[in-house]
């Protein structure tokens, strides 16, 4: 169900964004757009399938705390 919703949402986004680029033959823009589109679609698909995606913020927190030793103590 979640996967279907994700595909429907991305189909809607593509329907809104693509016609202008295709009509005006802006192939470079289309290539750039497609790359980003597929990346975000991949992320959405993984989430819809229940795959646990590690949060970049947690990695950053660990890097600042454990490597740079830049972290306040929790009050």
């Amino acid at each position: 169900m979640n996967l279907l919703l994700v595909f429907m949402a991305f189909a809607g986004i593509a329907a809104l964004d693509l016609p202008g680029m295709v009509k005006n033959k802006r192939w470079r823009d289309l290539a750039v757009y497609s790359a980003i589109f597929l990346l975000v679609l991949g992320l959405g698909t993984l989430m819809a399938l229940g795959v646990e995606i590690p949060s970049p913020i947690k990695a950053i927190q660990a890097f600042y705390r454990d490597v740079l030793h830049l972290s306040f103590k929790m009050s």
Partner: protein
């Protein structure tokens, strides 16, 4: 987006800076939990800490009038290193958009609609942000004046109505905490609400080359510091020792408002104002991200109203005009949606990030990178001086 309306006035930018920061000021729990009844002073010390940071932004904008942060990076560091630095800034903007979106979701679920899935709230909220950007960021900037009046009006009215329940004695004892607590409070205030005005360096080109960005940034910052002091003082003298326990002191203090048992539940006004200010802030951050991404990918700089090749006709190039650039607003909003869903697993993780690491993470982008940029620009003697000679 309407390509004809690209200019904004310095007053609109000043109000926008105020509204941008006010959404965080109304969620002052992360500061008050540390510095308790002395938190009001953190607004001033935070402002003092932020002044040199904003001075760096102003110096960069003066050296490169009419240029956005991403364009400035390209000029200072060259096309390759400049892009790398710009990508770091974009990561910062999108992370801020995600964190604020998540905060909005948590707020609505915790205080307004506990049965509603956070995904639905975030989705609706982001649709609002996309709509605001689609209608033109300049229109959102025009709207900032009205938003500012509503936000200030809500604070003033709520503060007056809560006056009968306040106890000024709750402010005592003054400055008895460990020095490190004040350092933490000062850095948190400087990095989290105040330093985030870095995002406006993507919008200042809309002022045009001839108008200076310094005045609206300084004034917006100072007014926000004053507002922050008033809000924190009100919360401290209303809630007393409770202020450091609750996660949203402003929300809890406004709950005290009751005029003859008729005028109650004023916190709903606070909630509406907070959601609107969140929408304003995330729209600015999302716009900064999309504009930066567009500039990096298309390799074209944004045409500001006063640049030499500026076309004042209705067909003039709009910063995010889909006729000139890949349309990235919707797909960027989709990225923010997914990222905000998995960014934190619980509210505690979110609070831990805000209290411990967020100030250092933010200062990396708000202080370190701009300072390095300014230093390199000065050493390489690039910027306005060379432009004038040329």
């Amino acid at each position: 987006m309407n390509p004809e309306m690209k200019k904004i006035s310095w007053k609109e930018l000043m109000f926008a800076v105020f509204c941008f920061m006010h959404s965080t000021i109304l969620r002052s729990g992360f500061i008050i939990s540390g510095t308790r009844n002395d938190s009001w002073a953190m607004a001033f010390t935070g402002l003092l800490f932020t002044l040199p940071i904003v001075a760096i932004y102003v110096a960069l904008l003066r050296k490169f009038p009419g240029k956005s942060l991403i364009e400035i990076d390209d000029i200072i560091f060259g096309p390759v290193v400049g892009k790398v630095v710009s990508v770091l800034y974009l990561f910062f903007f999108v992370s801020l958009a995600v964190l604020n979106t998540r905060d909005l979701g948590n707020f609505v679920v915790d205080y307004m609609m506990p049965e509603t899935p956070i995904e639905a709230i975030i989705l609706l909220f982001l649709i609002g942000c996309v709509y605001a950007i689609h209608k033109g960021i300049e229109n959102l900037m025009h709207l900032s004046t009205l938003l500012c009046i509503i936000a200030v009006g809500a604070v003033v009215i709520n503060s007056i109505l809560v006056l009968k329940d306040v106890q000024p004695g709750f402010l005592r004892p003054f400055f008895q905490l460990d020095l490190m607590k004040y350092v933490q409070g000062t850095v948190s205030v400087a990095a989290v609400p105040m330093g985030e005005i870095l995002a406006f360096t993507m919008i200042t080109p809309m002022l045009g080359k001839r108008k200076k960005a310094a005045k609206p940034l300084w004034l917006g910052l100072i007014f926000s510091a004053v507002s922050m002091t008033i809000v924190m003082l009100r919360d401290i003298i209303t809630l007393g020792p409770l202020v450091s326990i609750v996660s949203l002191p402003s929300f809890e203090s406004i709950r005290y408002v009751s005029l003859g048992g008729i005028l109650t539940r004023m916190e709903s006004i606070y909630a509406v104002v907070l959601v609107v200010l969140f929408l304003f802030k995330v729209s600015i951050l999302l716009y900064a991200f999309v504009l930066g991404l567009t500039q990096i990918l298309s390799g074209k700089g944004r045409t500001s109203p006063d640049t030499d090749n500026a076309d004042q006709s209705p067909e003039a190039e709009s910063p995010l005009n889909p006729k000139n650039h890949p349309p990235l607003v919707l797909i960027s909003a989709a990225l923010v949606f997914f990222y905000s869903i998995f960014v934190f697993e619980s509210v505690m993780e979110n609070m831990n990030w805000g209290a411990t690491t967020a100030p250092f993470f933010s200062l990396t982008f708000e202080l370190l990178l701009p300072a390095v940029s300014l230093l390199v620009a000065s050493l390489r003697k690039i910027g306005k001086v060379r432009e004038v000679k040329a």
